[in-house]
Symmetry: C2
Subunit: 351 residues, 2 copies
């Protein structure tokens, strides 16, 4: 049902291998969902009455902010670790991440009782570093401007004989992230609805690929849009060009979870075959989305997790008459930043 | 299944009647739950891994913050309005409330297409006043220090021939609020668990009574504690005294939703017969609870909705080894207040 883990000697997984394995199928994502029952939170699909009225649409948010560790990333991490041969898993795991994959891997490693070492940029949000450590992982900080986190993580995995858990370019990670979309389809079906438009915050493209292969297979007519912050629109550009585009210089951004310059090698072909065009949102619209989520939805959302909501609020996609699902992918925002946004975003939108 | 509505001529319901009707039974709460399906949000029961580890307990929150209008109050309001004879309901409804019952009644009235007029204190949190107006209700402000909101509401109902919707002392309101507890029992049962301890933010006692009569009937061994803020511990005192105690002078409080000086006439006998002792929390612990909810649970909670969580964080009840459910009853906090709390509550608790 799932391909054997590619391994290269003591390195465990080799994320740089030139022939990536095949992406998962629908049945594989469904199997991941069954294995996650009782481990991951079955997060709620919440109606948004104010936004629905304003946009003349049926708007729902999938609140992965309420997932274990505050983001969807545990889905992929649990799935990959659960599928490791126990003797391999026992050697421990290594990952690199700005914070959400870090916490997901740390949480999964603690569940299976194996050591985790996570390479994180030193400017990652403090709650993400603290949350990774609180889950028992060893955190190795590096300078985002200078270090190569993949190289650091690979060296660490080689040194320890541990398994490198990639953030998106692995079939088990994609299968795990795809389980969120299956829950969306199930929950809407109970209401007699089906998703017309799905907005997916996108960085490396693992959640997007899982959504395309799961939800997208179940609902062929659904339009699945990646959403990215300004300056990090590599997926939008790549989809438009029909090939992976790597960005050059990138600006600072609030959206610390979405700062990769290039789509994944395994995820991009999946997304190119199935996703709708990429949407791009401004920093200001992300701030408005955080304030909207607090005021109207009573949810704490981090900047990178709110880009889908920002796209909707900014009118980036026509939704009138449609059933729209916004994935709120993470809630790990520094309290001081949220406080600053709540203080300054004083415009009350019509509700 | 439910008692006929007491009415006094053009007054509609008379909340001051001397012989209150009987409280609802379990079957009546179950009927209310069936009628609410598809109208109210089936709010999630969320695990709290950090708090569970710290307290050596299985801690869950029932996130009524994610309910329509941001509080549990829609449950009672919909239930009462749904059971009104259509010809009576068509005359419109009147209520008095500091904000959550206000929004619940406004939302239910809009659903049934009837006019609503709500009497609110002029110092109610701005989001609650805005949220009530946004739902199409007419808002009549009064001075909390001087006005008698019940008298104002009664006069208004008489003048308009409208139905007065009481905030807690009515069997249909109690039945509606009790539906949240039934969901808790169902959701825990799926996990093979049963509630040992339930913490219920309490003011007039409608939610507490509904929880006692619903959840409390299904799980006789559950300890159901009311929780109140310092200075508004009328239920704790009344339970200890075995009779309704009315407080004298009351201090200012952050917990705008819990500022009544006396338990309800209909609710108190129910609660005296079934509830465990009342817990009382400080203003400082409420502020810590709001910050904890933001950081660890990614939920926006208002002060009055967070007193149960505050009691748990402050160690007001022994929970080791137990399954504990905290009702988070509302999330309608002014963004400026939340921002101030997030800025000042900088102590990072162990998680």
């Amino acid at each position: 049902m799932h391909p054997p883990l590619p391994r290269t000697g003591r390195l465990g997984l080799d994320a740089r291998m030139t022939a990536p394995p095949a992406p998962p199928g629908l049945a594989d994502i469904q199997a991941a969902a069954m294995a996650l029952a009782g481990l991951a939170v079955r997060t709620p699909l919440l109606p948004c009455p104010a936004l629905s009225a304003r946009l003349d649409a049926r708007v729902f948010v999938k609140a992965e902010t309420l997932q274990r560790t505050g983001s969807f990333k545990v889905r992929g991490a649990y799935t990959l670790l659960a599928r490791l041969p126990p003797a391999v898993r026992a050697r421990g795991v290594v990952a690199h991440s700005s914070g959400n994959h870090a916490q997901g891997v740390a949480d999964a490693a603690r569940h299976f009782g194996v050591p985790a070492a996570i390479v994180m940029p030193s400017d990652a949000p403090p709650p993400k570093i603290a949350g990774t450590r609180a889950r028992g992982a060893e955190v190795i900080l590096y300078d985002r401007a200078q270090g190569d986190r993949l190289a650091i993580a690979e060296a660490l995995a080689a040194e320890r004989g541990a398994v490198l858990v990639p953030p998106f370019d692995h079939p088990d990670i994609i299968a795990g992230q795809g389980t969120a979309g299956l829950e969306v389809v199930e929950d809407l079906d109970r209401l007699g609805l089906s998703p017309d438009i799905v907005l997916v915050p996108t960085s490396g493209g693992g959640l997007l690929a899982g959504t395309c292969l799961g939800l997208g297979a179940l609902v062929p007519e659904a339009r699945i849009h990646p959403v990215e912050p300004e300056g990090y629109d590599d997926t939008a550009r790549s989809l438009a060009a029909g090939r992976r585009v790597r960005l050059g210089a990138t600006p600072p951004s609030l959206c610390d979870a979405l700062l990769l310059p290039e789509p994944g090698a395994l995820t991009f072909p999946v997304n190119a075959a199935r996703a709708a065009e990429g949407l791009v949102v401004s920093e200001e619209s992300v701030r408005r989305a955080l304030a909207h989520a607090e005021r109207e939805l009573k949810l704490v959302v981090e900047p990178g997790g709110a880009v889908g909501l920002a796209a909707l609020l900014a009118g980036r996609v026509a939704v009138s008459g449609r059933t729209v699902v916004v994935l709120l992918t993470g809630g790990n925002v520094a309290p001081a930043l949220l406080a600053e946004i709540l203080r300054t975003q004083t415009d009350t939108e019509p509700s």
